[in-house]
Symmetry: C2
Subunit: 847 residues, 2 copies
């Protein structure tokens, strides 16, 4: 890995709205200031791409953001040199010698690379000015015929002279017009973008059919536009997109795509749609929460808990140090629990599962629409073999799964570690804060605040681990030696996702399903009841604690990651880079004015990949869907975060990063599968949360199976079993038995067990089994009904909008006709005598 | 619907191996006999397609097999006439007048249609001989330039001069060679087919690039081959494919595709793969059955049932007419049940779920491989609007869901009807045969044979209903007025599938999940136990009855549908057609010799669609997967059936049908989704069968929760509750209480209830709830584990074989290089000075 040559690509189009392209000059505009930066010395050729290389400190700092692809690009041309070098190393030689020879070799390598570029037909020009010490610039120009040839191989679709006007759908026209008037203020003010209804008919570029193009000159411009700085775009983007004041507006997606390429365009389109869909979820979530607030006073179980007349003495919650307590002390928690654990929550879980299915469907449709608008319908992504790893593969002729075994094993170990560590961190923090306040005066209500501080510590640990895990995942992926770039990215994403997911969610899963479940099952049939009061959730189930953990983890992650990491760290990095090139910050402003556009852009942070952005959103999607049954406000928090996130990302892309190389993409790739996986998992997780973590099923069973009058009255009493304090085992007696002021003979605890005076004391009661059967039945019904509904949504909503199918078909037909007409004017076609009136009927053509 | 003109397309290539094409003649072969049939009168042009029309009886018989597409093709050209006619009708006119005028109009319509064909550049030639009364023939020839133009629009891939040789994978070479030697005798002997490793590099046809084609003359042949009779093919197909003696061989798929087109090729490839996969399932199924046979003597529960010492008196199985019986009488059934209900069955269910997932994956890979071999990788299917329905849509300007409402409602009604009717038929037949033998002498073992006869009657009714339902589904789909042909087909398939599925499976679902479950739950808490012994399954659960129903339904459907319907009915139809054209069967042989090839083929059955073939297989797939937990031999039966089915279908396509119009297709369409749906449903159905229909869970619960010594001893006693005969309600006493020879005071029945002497007599016991919880937990675990495993299989096995990815990529690279070379020899490319040594590095081209 130490052999890479430091050649950095700076993409021509850069981040501040000052540069212009030569094409604009040609078109007759006045040239001023630094507009000549990107022209060749004779002012005739426009520079399309700029490479940088290190001229001095060869070894010191590998550019931190060189993507693998770029690295291997260098490597592949350097292979002969590298081979020589390793040979030389093998034959011995001092460290100093090798350092010097390496330096020389790198120059040789660079020259070979440049030669190869020239052989491909590219024009190169060196920037000799050398204003920034240690950095050299190499300008590249791609001539017209090279562009044409490549466009033909890539089957780029080019516009013809023909326009396609979508036939407006009759019945929807009024509705559409109304909708357009309503949403008009929400549209970004980007001037004369193409309207959706008129579109140039496009065809896969072919040099033979150049005469059909919209206009030869225009198509030149258009082809270059994809890689050229277009001044206007950036100004518009800066004003209409990357500003917080536009938070309520749609994003100018087609402009984003024109400037940044399809891949980044798709990310923002996806983020936009996700945020839009979150609005509905947030509204319903807030309504569910409000429903809980309104009905909290009518909730019979919490009324019974708060009722002082009931005077129920509860058993201690831990051995020795805890003492008996009164149920009324849990009043506050019980009322708070109700806010999140009402009947509406069950409906909300179903709603959110369908919402997720709807979201996936909407995205598929939106993606298809964008594919059509961006002429990607026939585009097929290619697997580009990663030549760095390909070289490794070639070396180690057979690379089987055995060689990858260590990487796999490490990953499995790491997964286990992530799970355990997550839970341990949670338990340690909780225990520590509990210990701090485990004096006899502890009150059920105070516990909440104690827990909250514990969770905050927990979140900080999670955030630190997050960074560690992503580094490890990258390291492990490199160990696995994947063959192609796509495979590398997929493996990396999958690993990072699994580790980050486990990191964030393992404490939450622990609270939801394990804690408080293991506590009372130690006793077995016939043996004397051994009551060990291990840490339990509050009386009304673990739902409240789950809710606290969820909300704080989610908020913490969002606030800290967004503000600290996304804004702070890039600024820090920029500072470090400037310091490294040894310019005093005082000089900076003066220097900045002198520098050419691309020289100034060298100090910007390079674009690495979209993966961290997606990752953040996917984990958030997990918070929104996975445990929504216990925290209906999650969509609201996510919405608020994302409204900011969009503009934050926009600012970053427009002003803080070098312009990324535009990449074509048809879809969001593996992220879609991860989303799908999460929304599938969400169904079963929510089923279990409702069945086992909340009190929904016991209440239902009580109301319809055991209640004497069909109401919830008596429910609390029904859930509490009796315990005779004389049955306490040695050393587990509470130290302060008289804490409540009277001697306790029988206390109550939350479980379904036989009374001490029954035939089988402390044995699991029939009610327990009935309720368990109820819970399990609920899981089966919920899971299958919701899965069926999701599949139904998936099936009913067509993946490709009807309108787009019609338009693709009509456009194709129009293109065929257009070609026929053009052909007629070129060749003479004897069989088409009167082709104006009687165009061939289409059905036979399509047979 | 009465307005269609009778124009039938007879596809040129026909079913008997006698005809030759003019191209072969050109190539220098001797012309003999009827080889001139398909040439134009001057012997120069080859006829590509033949249309037939009715010359006399215009109204009498609409050709029964006219596909909708063909009908509308006629309609669309007739629309002006039809409009005139309706106008005339509006102005009045006698019935006779209109009949005559309709006849005339049809001739006009036909002439207009022919004119349109001519305008498209096709050459027409009428067959004036008129040998078959009432039928006219119109030969069509498509000239070379028309073929080229259409090929260009269809982006047909054509072979170039370049060959692509797949690089053999190093490590697999030996294994592959071994595998090839092993499978050599299984390969069909089809002579010189292309080997898989060498393939012509193909490119989307373009007239400008004609010089790149493999050979101009060859590509002509190749293009026409798709629609031409190639004598050799058919002989080979007849010998190597459509013969039962080849039952153990692979099918010559590439030949099938060349002769019948991709769509039919895919069907046979799919059927072949399915049959191949069934071999594994059948072997494992037989092993599971054998395991049951071997362990039947060690099965403690059936030993206890058969043990005469246990002497358990059972309560009567029905009111009044039934009497008490001894448990030992159920010995035979219990032992038979064990054959299908051993622990191995659970593992087999899991295996079959994974098998289904593997099958789906294998098919995806096979499909992809075929797509690559057949150069379909870039082919996109087009939605062809069905112009008959399009005309209806245009008439009724807005056709909303309201207009389709009646069709939808009818369908929902029909579904309900199908379910109920299926169950009712089952109950009636069972009841009738039970009544026949409900004398007191009834023995538990005799019941099986009685039931079997009931099931056979049931199957016959199912088969009759099957035909009725498919007619109704077609009618309903036409009512719905779908817009495109694809939509028509999909709707039709879905409807037919749902109805046929419900028809076949509703009695089975009834037996598995409803029968015997409702019997004992009538009692409610606190009310005196009301024991109503409604028809119950035998003692060891309903599994045995389920098994009988399944096996007989499956075998019956296969035997009757295969032999009677698929072989008999086509022969009958052919006979009827001959009679209709009024030729005495005596003349037949003489006539056959005189007739031209296409005239003789007119008497063959036309090809309608593949749907019935697929439907049969999908329903069979349902039998194989859905209830496999109760009938492990199902895959074996399916395998035996399919081995015959392949050759039967082959014979039909080669010798009994007119040659179908070759259609391109990339996949098997909606059938794949149906398969996927069934394999998903299979998981949950099998989970429920094991949990609720079999005794698997009660045994587990007994063994690990209640057994005093951890064995199954005492299990039977544990499953039986006590009933005090003095608690029989009035009129439910058995009429012959002394049937067993002694007075019964307490009898036993199969349920988990409290004893008559307990605190809550006949109340559901705790064991019941525990077992219910166990059953439900099993369903959840089974469903989710198996679903996860299936998804894992889906994820681990890549949809596109690695080898194919490499080959597609390499072929593309080779094509690019080939084009570059060709280009260099045509234009002069200044930037490629020494392109032989330094070919442009690929990575920049792909950026």
């Amino acid at each position: 890995m130490g052999k890479q040559l430091k050649i950095t690509f700076i993409h021509l189009a850069d981040a501040s709205p000052n540069s212009r392209c030569c094409l604009n000059l040609k078109a007759g505009e006045a040239a001023s200031g630094d507009q000549h930066d990107l022209c060749s010395k004779d002012g005739q050729k426009h520079m399309d791409y700029i490479l940088t290389y290190s001229t001095k400190k060869l070894f010191s700092d590998l550019h931190p953001s060189l993507s693998l692809k770029e690295k291997t690009c260098c490597l592949s041309c350097c292979q002969p040199c590298a081979r020589d070098q390793s040979l030389r190393k093998y034959h011995g030689g001092t460290q100093k010698q090798s350092l010097r020879s390496q330096e020389e070799e790198k120059v040789l390598c660079r020259e070979e690379f440049e030669d190869n570029l020239k052989k491909m037909g590219l024009h190169l020009e060196k920037d000799e000015s050398n204003r920034i010490s240690g950095v050299g610039f190499l300008k590249i120009h791609a001539p017209w015929d090279i562009l044409c040839r490549e466009a033909e191989f890539l089957k780029l679709k080019m516009p013809t002279k023909e326009f396609y006007q979508a036939t407006p759908q009759h019945k929807m026209r009024k509705l559409n017009a109304f909708f357009k008037r309503i949403t008009a203020p929400l549209l970004p003010n980007v001037g004369d973008t193409e309207t959706e209804d008129i579109k140039k008919v496009c065809y896969p570029f072919s040099r033979e059919k150049l005469h059909l193009s919209h206009s030869t000159y225009y198509s030149t411009v258009c082809m270059q536009c994809r890689t050229l700085t277009v001044n206007l775009f950036l100004q518009v983007l800066y004003r209409e997109w990357a500003s917080y004041s536009n938070f309520y507006k749609y994003q100018p997606i087609s402009l984003i795509r024109k400037y940044f390429g399809e891949k980044i365009g798709l990310y923002f389109a996806w983020l936009g749609l996700y945020t839009q869909m979150l609005i509905f979820a947030a509204i319903v979530g807030v309504l569910v929460f409000l429903y809980g607030c309104i009905t909290v006073d009518d909730d019979i179980p919490s009324m019974e808990i708060c009722d002082k007349r009931n005077n129920i003495t509860m058993c201690p919650l831990c051995d020795k140090s805890c003492s008996y307590w009164k149920l009324t002390m849990a009043c506050g928690t019980a009322r708070a629990s109700h806010l999140f654990d009402s009947t509406a929550t069950v409906l909300f879980s179903i709603f959110m599962a369908l919402w997720a299915a709807m979201f996936m469907e909407s995205w598929k449709r939106r993606q298809m629409r964008l594919n059509y608008m961006w002429d990607l319908t026939n585009f097929e992504e290619e697997e580009v073999s990663n030549e760095y790893f390909a070289a490794l593969h070639a070396k180690a002729a057979k690379l089987t799964w055995r060689d990858r075994m260590p990487a796999y094993m490490t990953f499995i170990f790491l997964m286990t570690f992530a799970i355990l560590f997550g839970v341990i961190i949670y338990r340690v923090t909780t225990q520590a804060s509990l210990q701090m306040s485990s004096m006899p005066s502890i009150r059920a209500n105070v516990r909440l605040t104690v827990k909250s501080t514990a969770v905050i510590i927990n979140v900080v640990v999670i955030l630190i681990l997050d960074e560690v895990y992503s580094k490890i995942a990258r390291w492990l992926t490199i160990l696995e030696v994947p063959k192609t770039d796509k495979s590398f990215e997929q493996r990396l994403i999958l690993k990072t996702f699994i580790l980050k997911f486990l990191n964030a969610f393992s404490p939450i899963f622990y609270i939801a399903f394990i804690r408080g479940k293991t506590a009372n099952t130690a006793s077995s049939y016939g043996v004397l009841f051994k009551q060990s009061f291990s840490p339990q959730c509050a009386h009304t189930g673990c739902l409240m604690e789950l809710c606290i953990q969820l909300s704080i983890t989610m908020l913490g992650k969002q606030l800290i990651q967004n503000n600290l990491f996304e804004i702070g760290i890039p600024k820090l990095k920029k500072l470090i880079r400037r310091i490294k090139t040894k310019r005093a910050p005082v000089q900076e402003e003066q220097d900045d004015k002198d520098l050419k556009r691309y020289e100034a852009d060298f100090f910007l942070e390079p674009f690495v990949s979209l993966n961290p952005e997606y990752m953040e959103m996917i984990i958030q999607f997990g918070f929104v869907t996975l445990f929504v049954a216990s925290f209906p406000l999650a969509p609201l928090f996510a919405l608020l975060n994302n409204v900011i996130e969009i503009r934050l990302d926009a600012k970053k892309f427009v002003a803080e990063l070098r312009r990324p190389v535009a990449a074509r993409a048809k879809d969001i790739g593996i992220w879609y599968n991860l989303l799908r996986g999460i929304s599938k998992a969400a169904i079963i997780v929510n089923a279990f949360v409702i069945a086992f973590t909340s009190d929904f099923i016991p209440r239902l069973v009580y109301q319809y199976g055991y209640s004497p009058d069909g109401t919830m009255h008596g429910f609390i009493n029904h859930t509490l079993s009796y315990f005779n304090v004389s049955h306490f085992q040695a050393e587990t007696h509470p130290l302060q038995p008289l804490h409540l002021g009277y001697k306790v003979e029988v206390c109550r605890y939350k479980d379904y067990r036989m009374a001490p005076w029954s035939f089988n004391p402390y044995d699991i009661s029939k009610v327990y089994w009935a309720i368990l059967a109820g819970r399990l039945a609920f899981v089966i019904i919920f899971q299958n009904v919701v899965m069926l509904l999701s599949d139904f949504v998936d099936w009913v909503i067509p993946d490709i909008p009807k309108e787009i199918i019609t338009r693709i078909y009509e456009e194709k037909m129009q293109m065929v006709e257009f070609f026929m007409r053009e052909e007629h004017s070129l060749y003479s076609m004897p069989m088409l005598d009167n082709q104006d009136e009687n165009r061939p009927t289409p059905q036979l053509r399509r047979s």
